[in-house]
């Protein structure tokens, strides 16, 4: 048990080192730096010596490896640095913005579940019926519509013409609707199709026939046998596509002026706010890692075979 914990710990450590190092490299090797932004050259007079002086002060003239080492040293002391632009602690900025993003993501996932579970199940259960055809067409079209485009249409329709929802910002529960519906719809087409095919796969399994032979009702078979068997592939895909979900959040946040980490990072990239970018990548990496660990755990729960094997190995 102790060995496994140590292994897991080392794995996390390796992982963190890897993503921070690679992102550090990319960020620092990319052209451009934030010195001119910091000095507000647009409005204040600055001489080239002052620019160089600041560059030296921030350590941009040191070799990348040394910079990384220094960053790592701070990181170990749980100091993620301060934003060049706002002068605030990077972590506190990210943590204040994170709840908004989480809300949006959870909202989107709820929409996704609300859409894809009924649609996917119905089209699998009534294969080739009109409902199946409609949901298939919808999901194919859904996969082809750019989310930002859909969002604009929603803003125009529900925000302006109908005035049902606010078009922007984060102002209570109601402002969550449009962005999370947009994002939710954008991702759900994948899951409708996935759930459908996964259910069909389950229904072609022998144990469904066996359950029928035992006289179980169709409802029971769906709930307790087929549906549960269909979840793992869906979860796998969820884990794998988490990255594009997080990316989708960025686009949606920009579109809806939603004050989450996505908007934060787009600004940070524009202003070359290195510590913030670095912190963002770190946090997202950790989130992806945690979610994927949960996905692994859920396998263990959903698939007793894995659970037992694990137990034997220990």
């Amino acid at each position: 048990m102790v060995r496994i914990l140590i292994c897991k710990f080392l794995e996390v450590l390796f992982f963190l080192l890897f993503i921070t190092f690679v992102s550090f490299l990319f960020i620092r090797l990319a052209p451009g730096d934030p010195v001119l932004t910091i000095l507000n050259v647009d409005e204040l007079s600055v001489s080239q010596e002052q620019v160089e002086a600041l560059r030296t002060e921030l350590g941009f003239n040191k070799p990348v490896l040394v910079q990384y080492g220094l960053w790592l040293l701070n990181f170990i002391q749980l100091d993620f640095g301060t934003s060049f632009v706002t002068g605030q602690q990077v972590m506190s900025m990210l943590l204040t913005a994170l709840p908004a993003t989480l809300e949006l993501t959870v909202g989107a996932i709820c929409v996704m579940l609300l859409v894809s579970i009924p649609l996917g199940s119905l089209s699998a259960l009534y294969r080739d019926s009109w409902i199946d055809k409609i949901s298939r067409i919808l999901s194919i079209i859904g996969a082809a519509i750019p989310s930002f485009w859909l969002g604009l249409i929603f803003i125009d329709l529900f925000g302006v013409r109908l005035s049902w929802f606010p078009t922007m910002g984060r102002d209570g529960f109601i402002s969550l609707f449009l962005p999370s519906i947009t994002l939710g719809l954008a991702i759900s087409s994948v899951y409708v199709r996935l759930l459908r095919s996964s259910l069909l796969d389950s229904y072609s399994q022998e144990f469904i026939r066996a359950a029928r032979a035992r006289g179980l009702s169709e409802g029971r078979i769906f709930l307790f046998h087929a549906f549960r068997h269909s979840i793992p592939p869906v979860i796998t895909v969820f884990g794998v596509s988490l990255g594009s979900l997080i990316g989708g959040v960025v686009v949606i946040e920009v579109l809806f002026a939603y004050p989450g980490v996505g908007k934060l990072i787009v600004d940070a990239i524009r202003q070359r706010d290195y510590p913030l970018i670095q912190g963002y990548i770190l946090i997202m990496g950790i989130i992806v890692f945690i979610v994927n660990a949960c996905v692994d755990l859920s396998y263990r729960y959903l698939n007793p075979e894995m659970k037992m094997k694990e137990r034997e190995n220990n």
Partner: protein, 282 residues
Amino acid sequence: MKDSFMYLSIQKKYRWQAVLLISFTIIVIIACLYTFLYLRHDPTYTNLDRRLEGMGLAHPLGTDHLGRDILTRLLLGGQQTIGFSLMALGVALLVGIPIGLISGYKRKVIDRIFMRIADGFLAFPDTIVAIVLSGLLGPGIGNLVLAIVMVKWVNYARLVRSTVLSESQKEYILIARTNGLSSIKIMRKHLVPHILGNVLVMASLDLGKIILLISSLSYIGLGAQPPVPEWGAMLNDSRPHFQSSPELMIYPGLAIVVVVLITNLIGDYLRDHFDVKKEVQR
């Protein structure tokens, strides 16, 4: 998930779809070729006196906010968008397939190294990498392609690797080994044909995603540069006119939807096609 098919397993049903798909694709290709061979309008010619004109004989779809012909730009944009997506996909395939093959077949050290690298890459959310990378390297479609390759190759390497891992357990590979084939020959002769189907399916489904990714990055200003008429960039350009001339956003948006739809349909079609065969084999 072994067989995830969208359509009936009856092959006859595919035929009309195939016809539809092929004709769609041909239309798109012809349209793009048309502009390539014969441009009625210079896509970068601005004429501020004729901005935001509606449909008409001279400009079938009207003009944009700088008085340029929308149809020409739309078609040229098709070449850009599709061309660059294909390029990104192609490079990702060229990188991913060999690595996946080697790491799946050779296992041991190579595989372990690869798996670590792949894990690392997967830890970065792909869209984020693309955003950060193209944001940092500066806007420009070349950088965007590079960013997409960086995030996509891993998927192919993994797919190939897992196919190879499961295939190389099969007895025909054992027999090939007893028959003295070298690793390279086994890979080339027995494994490559096997993975191509899967890769093709995944690639055609990916194409749509890449098109969407390129245009959404262009939309938030990280993609193509003006006056290149990339569809996402066109959408971005037309954003200010969303209220007054919504058609400026409708055309490129619809173009994206249609092309992605086609690639998705092709992908689904291929997937079913390959799956049906598998069914028979079982």
